[in-house]
Symmetry: C2
Subunit: 365 residues, 2 copies
């Protein structure tokens, strides 16, 4: 396997190789183009995946490429499609993804939300029936980079890894919620799943042959387990709050279903008639409608200093704000490469080979 000789200089683990992000970006783009996408769509998808890897969210990175290729083969993704606005009522906009790439559709939703929020001070944009939109946090982040406060409520149909509180079978997905708040510097970004962990993290552990910590999973009988494979045999991921306070995570996940699935008509979980899709509701507010930017931005600076200036527990160097760990990881991985485990790499190399994409070209650039 030729790529073994091309591994980058950082070897973090005997089952890990590291690659420059630019190489993975080009490889991902070429694979996506080979799947039938025009260059612009392919770049959008590739940048999204590799940016997720850079941020440390490997579960939403290039590990998804083989899955995406299957979705294209199955007809769930139409690689040349664009999303369509199907309802347009001032700040209230509903888009149908029409099997376009999730990242392409979500980017379009972000753009229309920014436009409407700048005009009305507010926007509420739904995206229905999208293929996997990837790392949800990037969408409110893009809006916050334009000075807007943005919430993204996201749900899934066709997947249901989380049981209703007190139940034993999966009915809800790991429905992520992300919220970004602008500042004079980088936005503050909350990006959380409403489950204890994202499904992708369990998948990564399974691919790597590792167990997961106690408190992540229940098996199909509702008993705690540390075997990631149990999830894929009828088990469930615990909602945020775990065994004692999971009713809170269940409530958050259910609200994501109501906003991103029921309200906009995108479907939820394994309900009859649903297909594999993400729904997303963006709720965007222009903070400048609340007063002079200087005023709230100054208050924000003072608040950030107040939070940072907290004594830390032994072993913790400094207080990091939500979104900062991802920025630190991004800086590190830009400098030192993106680690990719052998199992994931083999799947991607195999996919590239099948599509006639030359891996050596990309990873040596």
């Amino acid at each position: 396997m030729i790529f073994k000789s091309l591994q980058a200089n950082i070897l973090r683990d005997k089952n890990m190789k590291s690659f420059p992000n630019t190489s993975l970006r080009q490889l991902a783009q070429r694979i996506t183009q080979a799947l039938g996408s025009p260059e612009q769509h392919a770049r959008e998808v590739a940048d999204h995946l590799v940016d997720a890897n850079l941020a440390g969210h490997d579960s939403h990175g290039i590990v998804r490429l083989p899955q995406y290729a299957r979705h294209v083969a199955d007809g769930d993704i139409d690689p040349i499609a664009d999303p369509l606005v199907v309802r347009d009522d001032g700040p209230f906009v509903l888009m149908e993804a029409r099997r376009s790439w999730g990242q392409v559709a979500a980017r379009a939703a972000v753009e229309i939300a920014a436009q409407r929020a700048r005009g009305d001070g507010f926007a509420c944009v739904g995206l229905a029936h999208a293929p996997h939109i990837g790392r949800v946090g990037v969408y409110p982040l893009r809006l916050a980079e334009q000075g807007l406060i943005a919430q993204a409520w996201c749900n899934c149909s066709g997947a249901a890894r989380v049981a209703p509180w007190g139940g034993t079978t999966g009915k809800l997905a790991t429905n992520p919620i992300a919220l970004a708040f602008p500042s004079r510097g980088e936005p503050i970004l909350m990006d959380i799943t409403t489950s204890v962990v994202a499904e992708g993290k369990v998948r990564i552990a399974k691919n790597a042959g590792k167990s997961v910590p106690d408190g992540w999973l229940l098996d199909k009988l509702g008993q705690p387990t540390t075997h990631p494979a149990d999830l894929y045999e009828g088990g469930t991921i615990l909602p945020l709050g775990g065994t004692a306070f999971g009713h809170k995570g269940f409530a958050l996940a259910l609200m994501a279903d109501l906003l991103a699935g029921v309200l906009i008509g995108s479907g939820c979980g394994l309900m009859p008639g649903t297909r594999n899709a993400n729904g997303m509701l963006l709720i965007v507010i222009d903070p400048d409608r609340w007063g002079q930017r200087e005023e709230w931005a100054t208050r924000l600076d003072e608040y950030v200093n107040y939070i940072r200036n907290t004594p830390t527990r032994p072993g913790v160097d400094e207080i990091l704000l939500p979104g900062e760990p991802e920025r630190r990881t991004t800086q590190d991985r830009i400098a030192n490469g993106i680690p990719v485990d052998d199992g994931t790499w083999e799947q991607i190399a195999e996919l590239a080979d099948r599509l006639g994409v030359d891996v050596t070209d990309d990873v040596t650039r």
Copy 2:
């Protein structure tokens, strides 16, 4: 002590008495009037507190009366004051509580939010510097009862029981988030603190002389503890997610600070210049702007059936939606009375006595 002979018929615990909710309602109203409130304000406060007890949220019920009396004595609550709209820009409204009762100010914010959301399809109403607003969930609930989707982001200044993730000293409050979604029947209500538990639950345990479960608290050195008193001696409450995933609860709490404190200028935690107050941001959306009510309400009914129809774990009779446990408790306590522990009751009786309010009059009606 005369009230001992008047205890209601349900005795759940040797340290508990139960009272009809109507009796406690009148007692609370008379105490609040004796603190200087006009009848309408007093009824608003009393109904809020006793409704919280009915719902099972005793930490936000009549246990608060002695604390409120201290706030009146200290001048933090002006019992005759009304809130004031200080910014009015279509769907964007900012109110200052001006030391009016928190419940009175929050009710006013709800009313203006409902009015604006019906017109614009959207409202974003901030309430700054409010005395304790009580159980936050009731505010979005009132909006959902009028057919609106409502979020309430709430924060506190003057209190800081939660440490930034990785820190040892309290900087954030237990900042609750509530979201209500209307339906053909009762609204679905999520009402959660962003900490593992609300501070009031620790206070209840302390008053009752009980320990708290592991995973609720850290002591002032950042070590886990089960002694509720440790919280009041420099300890902190863990954010939602606990010792392993508390970064998620920290992010939620911080976002509540940004929306309900920084954005609207209400202050956060123990920052310089803050005083004891709640901030609240209501974000309200008219779901009918998304399509015919029949359409989404039908989808909601189908979704609720889908969630309810889940096999349960041993010991769990049925799946309850968020907000349902509180409605069940309300029905039970309307029928069987509200249990009040002796410690709380003695404080209230002492307060009533000091104010010249005759306890026997109320609890026998």
